[in-house]
Subunit: 311 residues, 2 copies
Amino acid sequence: MIKDLISNLRKKDVKTISRLISNIENENKDYLDLLSGIHSYTGKAYRLGITGPPGSGKSSITNQLIEKFTKNKLSVAIIAIDPSSPFNGGSILGDRIRFSNISKNSDIFFRSMSTRGSQGGLSKSATLVADIFDASGYDVIIFETVGVGQVEIDVIEAADTVMVTLVPESGDDIQMMKSGLMEIADLYIINKSDRDGADRLYNSLNKILDLNMGHGWNPTITKTSAINGSGISELYDKIMNHKEFIERNNIKSDKMDERYLKTVKFFITEALNKDFWHSNKKLNERLQKELKLIYQKRLSPYKISKELLSQ
Amino acid sequence: MIKDLISNLRKKDVKTISRLISNIENENKDYLDLLSGIHSYTGKAYRLGITGPPGSGKSSITNQLIEKFTKNKLSVAIIAIDPSSPFNGGSILGDRIRFSNISKNSDIFFRSMSTRGSQGGLSKSATLVADIFDASGYDVIIFETVGVGQVEIDVIEAADTVMVTLVPESGDDIQMMKSGLMEIADLYIINKSDRDGADRLYNSLNKILDLNMGHGWNPTITKTSAINGSGISELYDKIMNHKEFIERNNIKSDKMDERYLKTVKFFITEALNKDFWHSNKKLNERLQKELKLIYQKRLSPYKISKELLSQ
């Protein structure tokens, strides 16, 4: 059964891929055995992350890059980390709408994932979904996120190459520097660069990067106007440069080790917690009993945790 | 020693408060006993969260509200969740600069915290720091975050009242709906409401809220222009309405229970992991051995986690 699934996966069967992803999202019991089965086929895809503030053109740039990749006979899977809808509990179709110009074609696969749910959960799931695409032979995996949050940064940081999109208005205030995105970028993109302020942003960003030049990769800045495709070829070349750079300097393999360790530790934490709460049904009863007391009369969270751990 | 600290804390001594917060941030060993000691003094402060996209005026609104609170003889502590600086590893002083108009006065305490660090870590630390302010007798605690991320949402959700700031431009596209902030708001603020599009945003937001009216609190919308103070009195009244509402309907006590449970579970997870990796030094050696193999030849992360757990 699992063997058949994996065999279909290796043929890039769209239905099988979708099914496996759903298994991960729903934390279906079998999915862990399945993931074990595909591990030896992973580690080949090139993982590209794109993030930046809302409205900075991440999707347009992604769309343009997809065209470039496919022209170069590279298949692309896109994982969009999609904060969930306010009121219906589901995922808004925004990204899918914007991606509707992409033909239904197994060489381009788009999947959005919601940021709701447990903290560690999403960055783990995104990594596992990427592993599925990786094992099924996709050449390039693009993670697209709206930046700022720690989970989004975790997802993006796991990519081989990280791109941060900015717009000329980003330079207007101190917020740009505070976005938390700046330290993780390999490639900066100033999109909508036909607008006022693009040169000013370019120069100030350049100055900051100059100050920090040193060992390793020096982040680059590309001006684009994704809506009409300008700057995309230049960006594509820079992506390929970075890809080569990290492969040549073992940076890619370090990133793979990090991902491996993080996933192992995630599974262990999950299992330890599950074992703990299932080991003794009285633990939960004890905790509920404490909750019944007036807040100020309860044992402190630290003391009750110690008491529970000692049982 | 701890007793003296707590006694000084209860006198709202600024130096003691700062020292205790540093202990939490540095995860000083003694801090857990200390926190146990203050638990019975917590649970009295009113916790207010404000979030929204960069540039939507969170700090200006916060500043204006601080004035209101202090005029009404309420002391205020502000915890700003501050993504760390790109290149120096530290915290940018942006928020502090903007807050420089606030006098050095123990009835107003400003503290910024960085979002870097472990995922669960920050929302736990922010809650613990709030507990310190709570125990030292601050009437109001304001959490200010740049929204979107899961960690920021976790911090804000733990507040008694959640405010989300928007600007007229927020209505321009689908991104507003995708911000992940919409479902957690008790009070919406349309700031910079003298700009074009404020009415349009008001109306479309109103329509969405109407659709979802039902049991419990119906989120309100306030138009403000924080820079000149307009709308702030109205906002203040709405905050007070919500405060009363959650106190009358036991929503506040439910939130306190949630915070309590989350903190207990955090401490337990931390202890379980620590025990596990310290229980047997060979575990780490085993994992390191696996890392030395070629990526594809390694046991899958799930399999190795199972092997380590069985030891």
